[in-house]
């Protein structure tokens, strides 16, 4: 009975030592955190607003206690749909980090390459425009008429590695092998904008659309 209790206590201690404020984590962060290839583990494991960016997982430690064993939003991080999205982003980050050439695209709102509906021509009432394009981002009413602004954002990027990417280098037992690399990453965020002008009777008089040109400086 005593042995079992001691065993459970040891397991508990081992689990605690491996948590976000555990001995191993704190020693790592204190001793080699600034120069460690994985960065500071404590802030990522127990901080809030956990997310995965192009450069890896990040979280905000902020005013949270460093000695917190688990993050304040652990339930959200583990059970909410956003956690699965973060997991997918983490997988994407790993795959793009190990691929010699990788491309990625993110889109929000109306796509730049989607043509405007053919029914959207001068003379149609405002209700038709709303039915075709949905609610605008901005709708400004003026004394002589009104106009609507629709915006969509698309982000494209590509990267190329020559040499040994860092995640791959971790599995090669040659010291300093990850130095043999060169990486180039280019990102471009485009905005697809549509502006509709209406007269005093809320009849469409003009459509102006622009999709910013891309890649001209890349």
């Amino acid at each position: 009975m005593i042995r079992r209790a001691l065993g459970l206590a040891l397991v508990g201690l081992a689990v605690f030592a491996l948590t976000g404020c555990g001995l191993i984590t704190m020693m790592h962060d204190s001793v080699i955190g600034p120069i460690s290839p994985v960065g500071r583990v404590n802030a990522v494991t127990v901080g809030t607003d956990f997310r995965v960016t192009d450069t890896g997982p990040v979280a905000e430690l902020g005013a949270d206690a460093r000695l917190r064993p688990v993050p304040r939003d652990m339930i959200r991080r583990m059970a909410m749909p956003s956690s699965f999205w973060a997991l997918a982003q983490g997988l994407e980050f790993f795959l793009t980090s190990t691929s010699p050439v990788a491309t990625r695209e993110t889109r929000a709102g109306r796509a730049a390459d989607v043509p405007l509906p053919a029914e959207l021509h001068p003379g149609v009432p405002v209700g038709t425009a709303l039915a075709l394009l949905g609610p605008p981002d901005v709708w400004v009413r003026r004394s002589g008429g009104s106009f609507m602004l629709y915006r969509g954002i698309s982000e494209r990027g590509w990267s190329v590695y020559v040499g040994v990417p860092p995640p791959v280098g971790w599995f090669i037992p040659i010291p300093g092998i990850t130095n043999l690399r060169y990486s180039y990453r280019s990102e471009r965020e485009r905005a697809s904008k549509v502006m509709l002008f209406f007269d005093e009777q809320d009849v469409l008089v003009r459509v102006s659309a622009s999709a910013e040109d891309s890649g001209k400086r890349e």
Partner: protein, 129 residues
Amino acid sequence: MRRAAAALLFSLALSGCAYQVRQIGDDRFLHGGFAWEPGRTTVGDVVDALGPPDVIRWSAGRLLFVYRSERRAVASLVLTFYLKLFSGEQGRQEDATLIAAFDDRDVLLYYGVSEHPREDFAGDLGIAK
């Protein structure tokens, strides 16, 4: 043999280097020599020249169109030997804005645009036109 040596030298010369370029928005307004005249130019003329704006602000008697763009280039060198032995980063960022103000009749009142970036910005960071 020479090719292998050249490849090795090339790899060593580029060791640990990373280069990142990020561009947001359209910076046409920095290069355009548009001849807008306050009191004559209208909203339609501005939209014809630059397309719809990124941001619209309005209040009684004023309508503001805002166009924005951003460019950022970062070059870094990281050398590791189990740990990061050396880490250096050099970068520049350019934020450009154009603001055009209109009156109640959608006629241009005034406008302002950021200065064109210095030529060396494009030159030394490899984002030239």
